[in-house]
């Protein structure tokens, strides 16, 4: 049975609006030209492929199902209380079993010594072997030989899959529909190579995960790689959902303040200056506390732990959105003040258009480039903000997988000797990749949309 969590629904909405935007762009020639700059740019196309890979993972992680199980007592099918996502089902081999405690990457033993009773009754302190992985070298006894064989096999596998996709998608765009926007792309090779590399990494990690804990295990023996991948959804949701919350405030208040001016401008300016002067951490902390008290008082409203965690994530997005619209609002206010005096706006005033139609027809299309630049730039800042907030315990629910929580957990283990570094490292690695490519993408988008930036088409 499909289960729709609150954030899932919003994530679907984001995907749908993204698709609508793509359709809109394809029908508007000048927008198409601007975006094709992004696609033709090497950095642009690489970051688009990487980011869509992340998006895809987050999307699979947002389709939740409940399993049907047979109740042995009544002999009826009932739904389990456990909610799984599509990603969980795909990644089943990585997390179906738990180890006892920490183990380092690619290790076959636990990280700490334990006293084991041997068969002859004597006791010995040794590093116990892992119960499920690390000892099952699939292809060869030698671990390095095994790694090489796995790599080569995934290379071949990914090449076959890649070829399949290539023939279907790229053949169509390259040879059959010559007027397609993909046609004649100089960087088609780059697109393909990036796609191929990502596919290879995915298959390699998948294959390795059936044999080893690639990034080790955490305190309760859960695969860290699995945790990191599950955190992608949280990061992306915070980055996108917050923007969705923020946009209406920023756009409408900004335009009203700039275009109508007078007392409306004064009031809106007053609101955002006040909001800006309150430390946002304070606001977020208090909002999360209120929510926690509410949840503690009404436990019956929540069917299970997932819903509670989900509501907290949603609430965090809301409150982050409410505190972060002021910057964009100020930018848009300035821009619409400028546009108000531009002659084409005055010309439509002489036609007697009312203010609302002028805003819709003339102002909004001419400020969209600022909105897009800001949204893409803010995305990475928000992903990082989540990590910081979770670190100080006012972020997402502790049961939610997130990079901030991983860092928070790893913090305590940094002082132990020998140090447990992999938890922190993998959170860092995944966050770094996402934020890096989001920033690169933002750079290219800004180049494409900023009228003052020097552009090199082709």
């Amino acid at each position: 049975m499909f289960v729709y969590l609150l954030t899932d629904i919003f994530f679907y909405l984001i995907i749908i609006s993204l698709l609508i935007y793509i359709l809109y762009v394809r029908r508007t020639p000048d927008m198409l030209r601007t975006w094709s700059y992004v696609f033709k740019n090497k950095t642009g196309i690489i970051s688009i492929v990487v980011l869509s890979f992340f998006m895809l993972i987050a999307f699979f992680d947002s389709i939740h199902v409940k399993k049907k199980i047979l109740n042995n007592d009544t002999n009826q099918f009932i739904y389990s209380n456990d909610i799984q996502s599509l990603l969980d089902i795909i990644l089943l081999p990585t997390y179906e079993n738990f180890e006892k405690s920490y183990s380092s990457p690619f290790s076959s033993k636990l990280y700490s010594k334990e006293t084991i009773k041997l068969k002859d009754g004597s006791e010995k302190r040794i590093y116990p072997g892992l119960a499920y992985k690390g000892n099952h070298n699939k292809y060869s006894k030698n671990i390095s030989a095994n790694l090489v064989i796995t790599a080569i096999l995934s290379l071949v596998k990914s090449f076959i899959i890649f070829l399949f996709f290539y023939l279907i998608i790229f053949y169509r765009t390259l040879y059959e529909r010559k007027n397609n926007i993909f046609y004649n792309f100089k960087n088609n090779n780059i697109l393909c190579i990036t796609f191929y590399i990502l596919l290879f990494i995915f298959l390699l990690l998948y294959d390795l995960s059936t044999q080893y804990y690639v990034l080790g295990t955490d305190k309760v023996g859960v695969d860290v790689l699995y945790k990191s991948i599950k955190s992608i959804r949280t990061g992306i949701l915070i980055g996108t959902l917050t923007t969705i919350v923020m946009l209406p405030f920023a756009i409408f208040l900004g335009i009203f303040a700039g275009f109508i001016g007078g007392i409306v401008d004064d009031i809106i300016q007053y609101i955002y200056t006040t909001l800006n002067s309150i430390p946002s951490v304070l606001l977020i902390a208090s909002a999360i506390l209120i929510l926690q008290v509410h949840m503690a008082n009404n436990p019956l409203n929540f069917e299970n732990i997932y819903e509670r965690a989900d509501l907290r994530l949603f609430f965090l997005c809301m409150i982050l959105g409410l505190t972060s619209w002021t910057g964009l609002c100020r930018l848009l206010r300035g821009e619409s003040m400028k546009l108000r005096e531009v002659e084409f706006v005055q010309a439509s005033q002489t036609f007697g258009l009312n203010k609302f139609s002028i805003i819709i027809r003339h102002i909004i299309p001419n400020i969209m480039h600022i909105v897009i630049i800001t949204v893409v730039l803010d995305f990475s800042a928000l992903v990082l903000a989540e990590a910081v907030l979770s670190y100080v315990n006012i972020g997402v629910d502790p049961t939610t997988y997130s990079w901030g929580n991983m860092i928070n957990d790893a913090r305590l283990e940094m002082s132990r000797e020998p140090v447990v570094w992999w938890s922190l490292f993998s959170a860092f690695l995944f966050m770094f990749i996402l934020v890096l490519f989001a920033n690169l993408f933002a750079d290219v988008v800004r180049d494409a949309f900023d009228p003052r930036a020097s552009k090199k088409y082709e």
Binding site: P29, D30, V342, E343, F344, Q346, A347, S348, Q349, T350, F351, G352, L353, S357, R361, H362, P365, N366, K456, Y457, E458
Partner: protein, 534 residues
Amino acid sequence: MNNILKVNNLCLSINSNNKEEEILKNINFEINKSEVVSLIGESGSGKSLTALSIIRLLEKSCCIKKGEIIFTNKNILKIQEKEMREIRKNDISMIFQEPMRSLNPIMNIYSQIKESFVNKINKNLTEKILNLLVSVGIHDAERVINLYPHQLSGGMKQRIMIAMAIACKPKLLIADEPTTSLDVTIQKQVLDLLLELKEKLNMSILFITHDLAVASQISDRIIVMKDGKIIENSLSKNFFTSPENSYSKELLKSSVYKRNINNSINYNSNNILDVTNLKVYYKEKESFLLNKYIYTKAVDGINISIKPGMTHAIIGESGSGKTTIAKAIMGLTSITAGKIKILNKDISELNSSKKRDFRKNYQMIFQDPFSSLNPRMRIGAIIKEGLCFLKPEINNHDVNLILNDVIKNVGLKYDSLYKYPHEFSGGQRQRIAIARVLVLNPKLLICDEPTSSLDVTVQEQVLDLLSNIQNKRNISYLFISHDIKLISNISDTISIMNKGKIVESGKTSDIINKPENEYTQKLLNSVPEINRIL
């Protein structure tokens, strides 16, 4: 050797999109000692790039392909940057078009001018600067020296720029449209100053302009450029009496635009526009606490009346309040007092829905065709906008017919309807702006400097279009302009404005030939005329 600068076979290209575009093609000319040479051409003809390559301030994307520029026996293109700096410091100076942008707003005049004296003996620097300011015609130099650029008027700023340029007594002064952004009276002063300084310092001037009349006032020799080529290079007197090239002839012809006079004006009919005692004051609070206001009188008691089919022109320098009148009539700014009657209806008495209906009778064309069209809308949608809002009863089929008709009327192709504004040139955009108001069939059209940002030949085409429309549809025009020369040829009646007031008004021929007011006389005297008798 008499020549100070010699340009031989200069070819220049701009690299963009990995494509080379040839901008200058085989430029050859020379400038003699203490000679004023004018470089004339329309925008994009490469005249500024020629000047910039002489002083070697080209952008990185520009690349000089071949040729040499010889300045006092040195090839400027071959020498080191360090040596070039010495030349810029001592021998070649340049004045730019926009005095507002050429001065650093956070430095006072003293420190700005001091920069030109860098690395020279700094004795008596203040005295030297004061002398310099006096020599460019600033008499209260002691006061000006401590002011900042925003406290000075445009003409004063241009004088400061000239003072900086001549500080080192250059052999060659390059002036890139130094008077284009100035009012006519100030333009005359600056031109006179340049001529006077030329005599005094014995320097040569390379004067870049698009205005033939200005060039005729100042120059000894005229060079006409078109599409990166020099097409005529002759002495001033020969050029204005008998130009050789056909393009030069066309330029000369368009600079003295003449309209086909419309004789069908019925002076007894009712006025189309009646403005009585119009006042527009802007109020500013004097202080934060007190309830006192300062009033800026943008328009102060104006009377205008226009008959059907007539062209009335309002002429004034910048800041005289002429655009405010247009905005007040169109309802873009609120009026303090007075009545505006259009077709005998007081528009302030109409309620908002009736006013919206009534708007189709009077429309406006804006000054800058580059900002008056929404860059994100197709031409068809732009033209349709007013029609759909003011005449909602017309159905789609008729709208398309009207669009096709009007686009043909303004001389554009049918497929322009599906293009975006950036695909058109300035003149074509102004045609689109005209088409946008024409679809409404207005009785009165307010034209706020419709040609001032266009090249002369394009200007002529747009004015032709406007006068054809007037003859066909009997529209009245209210022209607003700073260009008395142009306006005297196209208008029937004229009002001269100064500081928010009309100082003189009447029939165009009367005012041009026998101006009574002192200000009008001054204005008329400052207008550069092409002197054919030379």
